[in-house]
């Protein structure tokens, strides 16, 4: 069995928590481990959504963000699509644990996505898409 859902939200950070709750509920239905439901999924998805809203769509209030959720017993795939031109993920990815970065206020979002998800892919499909895959780890 798998569940596939598509959501579209206004490009507004106030909607992030609601989307995260929807995804957590779907994963809870498949009895995903508590660690993944309460840490990996909410944090990585929050980062992807805030990137899409603040960077991708540049805080344009008339823009939207689409979220595709595909969850099975074994893995979760999330796609977050914004209306921006995209950015070079590798170039923006820094290591916030390096001594010179540890006291920086920013620079942890992409790092956390890569650490909390098994795979991150980026591509364009009438917009800028981030696809995150998380395998179930019991």
């Amino acid at each position: 069995m798998h569940i596939a859902l598509e959501l579209e939200i206004p490009s507004d950070i106030r909607y992030i928590e609601r989307v995260v709750e929807v995804v957590k509920q779907q994963c809870a239905q498949f009895a995903y481990p508590q660690r993944q439901c309460c840490l990996n999924i909410p944090v990585a998805l929050s980062e992807a959504l805030s990137n899409a809203i603040l960077r991708g769509n540049g805080e344009r209030l008339d823009a939207h963000v689409q979220v595709k959720i595909d969850v099975t017993q074994d893995r979760l795939i999330l796609e977050v699509l914004d209306e921006g031109g995209g950015f070079d993920f590798e170039e923006c990815l820094t290591d916030p644990t390096e001594p010179g970065n540890i006291e920086r206020e920013d620079g942890r979002g992409l790092f956390l996505m890569t650490r909390l998800m098994d795979r991150i892919e980026r591509f364009s499909n009438q917009g800028n898409v981030v696809r995150m895959t998380l395998k179930r780890h019991d």
Partner: protein, 110 residues
């Protein structure tokens, strides 16, 4: 998600209820800075009621820690659950903050 601020002796205790994320980090920052402006110097943030924290929330904690230290004060954290501890370990922020298992222990060690 909300923040409750109360004084215990000379320590300002902030309870983070719900998430600490991009949508509410500025509120936390401003409320703590307001207390700093009033002359408070000892701060404890209690995460016993907290769900998850995103990179913006972590960034605000780093920023507040710096500002409080610059004013001769101190910021400590307490009651991180296992998931939040992992988050701090992943980002090595566990090396930057003094973190106590309980609020009581944190209050004792100020």
């Amino acid at each position: 998600m909300s923040f409750a601020i109360k004084k215990q002796g000379e320590i300002v205790v902030v309870d983070v209820e719900g998430q600490l994320i991009v949508g509410n980090r500025q509120e936390l920052k401003q409320r703590v800075l307001d207390e700093l402006e009033k002359g408070e110097r000892k701060f404890l943030i209690d995460f016993s009621q907290t769900g998850y924290i995103d990179s913006s929330g972590l960034g605000v904690l780093v920023s507040l820690s710096k500002k409080i230290r610059e004013q001769g004060g101190e910021l400590r954290l307490a009651n991180l659950n296992d998931d939040l501890k992992t988050l701090f370990e992943l980002t090595k922020l566990d090396t930057l903050f003094q973190i106590s298992d309980t609020k009581e222990r944190a209050l004792e060690t100020f």
